[in-house]
């Protein structure tokens, strides 16, 4: 038997032992126990106001999620993609954005949408089946939810390349300099599109932050199926830095994303943020995670709840009083009411209108199909039997 061939460095030396709890590079500013810790590179002097704001955002985001999940259970939504457990990752990223920054979301970015000022009710349309994303992406600089895994990362990169050409990168004017954030999941990191987005962004030094919520699962497949090394370490291979942040720590996610966005705005190119988090719920309301993951894992992550740790910190430091919680509770209730009532009142699409959305202007061919269809539908009117008299 010959000795095994040696080829390059031992990966274990390069990447260290397998990292189950985020590993030594995990950026954290608030421990699961609610302890404020400091980081030499990424930190931020949070005011009490800011901390309360982040807490409020997470509570309201969870409320959106809980309400929508209940609406699905009651048959008002066809499906819902829950974000339970990912509130800090989304609020941290969402609050780091400036108005001129642009977001390319997946289908789960309800918290980021909320930060960007999209009425959460608008998010429900897609899941109810009345539209495919009813909001105007340019109104809030928040793109349409993208269901085809990873496709939006290329759109984000192209958008960022447009920003470069528009001269809104690296001018030194904080109100002008802009960046793009591309959201995607751990599973998405395997898609060709995502890897091509990395290449393009690196090649053109595009002002885009690749923000990956590693929630440990892609439906039933664990992160180990997608990668052998921590995802953030992949970035270097593409030519830009990658940082792993505790995605259940809203402070750290905010600080890291803020720095990544600022770097992009200043013209220093793309970066990768891996928000290390956990999908506490099912993949969607039609999924049954008991078929593929252990309850122990869920229990373990419950201890790292993103909302709870900030609550502990706020309380311990006397930054909140009962009135704050009462007000927030009332606000959340009102939001719930808005979603429940609003959802049921969302108008169904009008079949004939749909023909008009295919092109910027309807073609004669499609108009003819619409008119034929209209005549066909009209043939039912006033009759208790169906078209053509068929019962």
């Amino acid at each position: 038997m010959s000795d095994p061939v040696s080829f390059g460095p031992d990966l274990a030396d390069v990447f260290g032992p397998s990292q189950t709890d985020g590993g030594p590079d995990l950026v954290q500013l608030l421990t699961p126990e609610g302890e404020r810790v400091h980081h030499p590179e990424f930190d931020h002097d949070f005011s009490a106001e800011e901390l309360r704001g982040l807490y409020r955002d997470m509570v309201l985001t969870r409320r959106i999620d809980v309400e929508a999940t209940a609406l699905q259970r009651h048959g008002e939504l066809g499906i819902w993609a829950q974000l339970l457990g990912q509130e800090a990752a989304q609020i941290g990223a969402g609050r780091a954005l400036r108005p001129q920054d642009y977001v390319f979301p997946t289908y789960r970015e309800h918290g980021v949408a909320y930060c960007k000022g999209v009425d959460p009710l608008r998010l429900l349309g897609l899941f109810r089946g009345v539209d495919q994303g009813g909001w105007d992406p340019n109104e809030n600089n928040f793109g349409l939810y993208t269901i085809v895994i990873g496709a939006q990362t290329l759109h984000a990169t192209g958008y960022a390349m447009g920003m470069q050409r528009d001269g809104v990168v690296g001018t030194g004017d904080p109100d002008r300099d802009s960046a793009v954030i591309a959201h995607f999941g751990d599973g998405a990191s395997s898609q060709g599109d995502v890897n091509e987005a990395f290449i393009f962004a690196a090649s053109y030094n595009a002002p885009v932050v690749f923000f990956c919520q590693n929630n440990q699962w892609a439906i039933s497949e664990p992160i180990e199926r997608q990668t052998r090394i921590p995802l953030y370490q992949r970035a270097l291979g593409f030519g830009f830095p990658g940082i792993r942040v505790d995605g259940n720590d809203v402070l750290a996610t905010y600080a890291v994303t803020k720095a990544a966005l600022q770097r992009a705005r200043e013209g220093n190119g793309p970066s990768f943020v891996e928000a290390y988090t956990y999908r506490m719920g099912a993949h969607t309301t039609t999924d049954d995670p008991t078929r593929y993951r252990l309850n122990d894992e869920l229990e373990h992550w419950k201890l790292k709840d993103p909302i709870e740790r900030l609550k502990v910190y706020l309380r311990r430091n006397g930054l909140v009083d009962q009135e704050f919680f009462d007000d927030l509770d009332a606000e959340a209730k009102e939001l719930g009411h808005h979603l429940r009532e609003g959802c049921k009142a969302l108008p169904d699409p009008k079949p004939l209108d749909q023909f008009g959305y295919v092109f910027s202007e309807i073609t004669d061919e499609i108009a003819a199909q619409r008119d034929e269809f209209a005549a066909y539908l009209a043939s039912f009117e006033g009759s208790t039997t169906t078209a053509g008299g068929h019962s």
Binding site: R225, F355, V358
Partner: protein
Amino acid sequence: MSNQKITLAKGLNMGLRKAMEDDDKVLLMGEDVGKLGGVFRITDGLQKDFGEDRVIDSPLAESGIVGTAVGMALRGYRPVVEIQFDGFVYPAYDQIVCQVAKYTYRSQGKVKMPIVIRIPFGGGIGAVEHHSESPEAQFAHTPGLKVVACSNPVDGYWMIQQAIAHDDPVIFLEPKRQYHADKAELDESATPEPLFTSRVVRAGSDATVLAYGPTVKTALKCAEAAESEGRSLEVIDLRTLSPLDMAPVYESVRRTGRCVVTHEAHVNLGMGAELAARVTEECFYSLEAPVLRVGAFDTPYPPSRIEEEYLPDLDRVLDAVDRSFAY
């Protein structure tokens, strides 16, 4: 062995199991096909029984799934890959069209590509965008691919085994709306019809309705409704879309003189267009009316709250039959 009543999902699951028992070169691959058994549970229990080497949960990348299937086929395996939903086949489109479809031709027949690409297709399940599409024409249009669509549990059981045993690549379309719908009795000792054949599923004399996949059920309902009005419709389940098995179609249309084709896919350049052209060429002097097509408008699949209005249903197919008779 006693006969059992099974759903389409069960038929496919049993068929896959049988194919894996019969030939240890058969492998399954796809997203979530392992522990989860696929989002539709078609591969339920198979990883447990055949192991992770034969039922492979893949990384989330369709081009990767189909591209590696090509390599495994070259190595003598018979990969059966699952595309999770119709709308997610496109990242693999390049591999399917440029590689899977052409390898045999490129190698002048020296290499075979016994790959089955299973695609749950069609709408009517209240899903969000990309989960209700009917991409069959894109594959039937591609030389080097065979395309079949099952419509019922028993066909599901046999056709998947036949597709796997076949030496050419097969795009295997499964009407997802039917997965857990009707049950049918399966006789595992029966001899199935050959794979690339169409079949008269209801005899009739006044008009011929051609359907496949999810619209077979619709066509059969139409025939029932028409009967109460004194019209006798013959329904043909095409089963194979490429190659087409036209003999039973011509025979039928020559008798009935009328032909309506229905599919959920877009009418424009859809299967119906090819069928209409062939029927017109071969049955020209028997036709009492032009071949009429019922399918999707030239719009993307609509939001699900109104999908039932867009899908070819009983009324729209009967309306076409009426129009055929009005000529």
